[in-house]
């Protein structure tokens, strides 16, 4: 039997159009604060709107607003699994 250890899922792994809750944001206080200013914080529900090719920016919908973040930033945002 193959045992697959489940890794935590981050925003970059979501498909376009998927809706998830943010589980955890990795990084220091300042980084978290910056994300929080645009409404990105733990427990908030987001929809992935688009992702550009070659690890380009990722666009999210939070409530009525849309935001764009870089690939590496998105990697530090973990989402809840279904």
């Amino acid at each position: 039997m193959v045992f697959k250890k489940r890794r935590k899922m981050n925003l970059t792994e979501l498909k376009t159009g998927e809706v998830r809750k943010i589980k955890k944001i990795l990084g220091d206080g300042n980084f978290k604060k910056k994300l929080e200013n645009l409404g990105l914080r733990e427990g908030v529900e987001i929809t992935k709107v688009s992702a550009q090719v070659f690890k380009g920016p990722i666009t999210l919908q939070i409530g009525t607003s849309k935001i764009a973040i870089g690939f590496n930033t998105a990697r530090q945002i973990l989402v809840e699994e279904e």
Binding site: L38, T64, S65, K66, A68
Partner: protein
Amino acid sequence: MKKILLMGNPNVGKSVIFARLSGINVVSANYPGTTVEFARGYLKFGQERAEIIDVPGTYSLTPTSPAEEVACQILKQGNLVVNVVDATNLERNLNLTLQLLQQNIPMVVVLNFWDEVKHIGIAIDTTRLEEILGVPVIPTCALTGEGISALHKRLGEAEVKFYHYEEEERWHEVGKIIKAVQKISHRHHSFLERVGDASIQPVSGFFIACLVIFFTFLLVRIVGEGLANYFLVPFFEKFWRPVLVRISSFFQSVHFLHSILIGPLKEGKIDFYSWGVLTTGLFIPLAQVLPYVFAFYFILGILEDSGYLPRLGILVDKLMHYLGVHGLSIIPLLLGLGCNVPGALAARIMETKREKFIILTLMAIAVPCMSQIAMVTSLLGPYGVRGLGVWAGAIFLVWVLVGTLLNRLLKGESPEIFLEIPPYRCPYPGAFLKKLGMRIKWFVKDALPFVFLGVLLVNILYSIGLVDFLNQKVQATLRPLFGLPAEVGVALLIGFLRKDMAVGMLAPLNLTLKQLIIACVILTMYFPCAASFIVLIREMGIKQMMKALLLMGILTILVGAALNLIL
């Protein structure tokens, strides 16, 4: 005098409200970070005059960027805060509102974009919100002016209200308020939203971007050329020429004045390229350049106000990272295509010194302004791709080269893109035309003095015979390196003042196509015009500017010489 501060998140319409309250026009656009400098104005506040300050947008009072730091600093000097809130985005905006309420300063809250709230199916109970916050809450639609007089009237009711909450519980507190005052009803995607989504998807977004860029250039060309050929040039021929004939005959005996005002006659007729203050000095800026400047700002205004630019920034983000900057930098660069001066100011939206240096150096070397593009187009346009195309291609390659080079040479990394994407909005004609008018006025006001100075300088240089002396001096470098005749030397000199005049000086020299291309490329690269130079020094400091100038000098010589070998 009392100081009233307009504060709020970026892109909530503070500048439009500022313009409404103070009567002073400031540039606004539909993307975050349009306001980089404090604008100050005055308004009547009760019986006295009060100062009103348009503060650059900030998301919170614990600043995460230098721009936000400045916003927080000014808070200490204020006597009253007008907290402008995006009503379509109440939850996130209230985060700042709650922080402001703890600052012990009288405050009113403005719910802007009130007209959009209904459209997107949100209902906000303003009376309830007023009760909870304890300060006046005024719905407005700043673009149309709705609610502004109510805001003005209620400024006096501003109150200090200490809204108590635990710091860690702020979002929870915001959530409670939202629950009490806001109801969202479900609704379908609007047409604009669907277009909005398509324009940030990788594939459809790419095609839309190509279309937008293609039509932007096409329209600038068509509108610019059309205005020049069918409107302004005929106007000069029909109305200005007769006036000049009279002036010419009046000053016939005063040779010195005649040559400065009218320049030499060509076969007994007035010549608009005679380098007189009243001929070339007006003809180049107003008949040849202004049409393109108008066309460019017309289309830029639509792009700005619709909210497309940040989306374009997201699409090109990955590519821009090769030049050491993120995608949002296309906004200052695009503004720089109009004129490097506002472009350089807009570069303040870049977070780090490194990015700012890259953007400003790129702008100084390889972002020609519309005045220059217009003149180059009139010279090289007739040759089509072989002329204008080669020039544009060469400048674009230099642009890529400079960016890549700086990205390699400079220490540090460029931060990632991080921004709120504004919704698409239909440009509001009133604000749109006002902005266009302001920009045209700036162009005329800023360009004409330098143009006159340039024409005057040319005349003086010729009349005291310094031109020949200068030409002899530069002959040694221009001919062997770039294959250019010595006469181009004067154009290079005038280029320090105005690039459009400098390019215009090439016209009567009978240069070959190859020489024209090389001269235009060199004129584009070698130095920013006087006005941009001053702003660039102010924005990047003397030391950084020297570095940029050094790179500029080396590259100009290399590229000019290389073109001379290849073409």
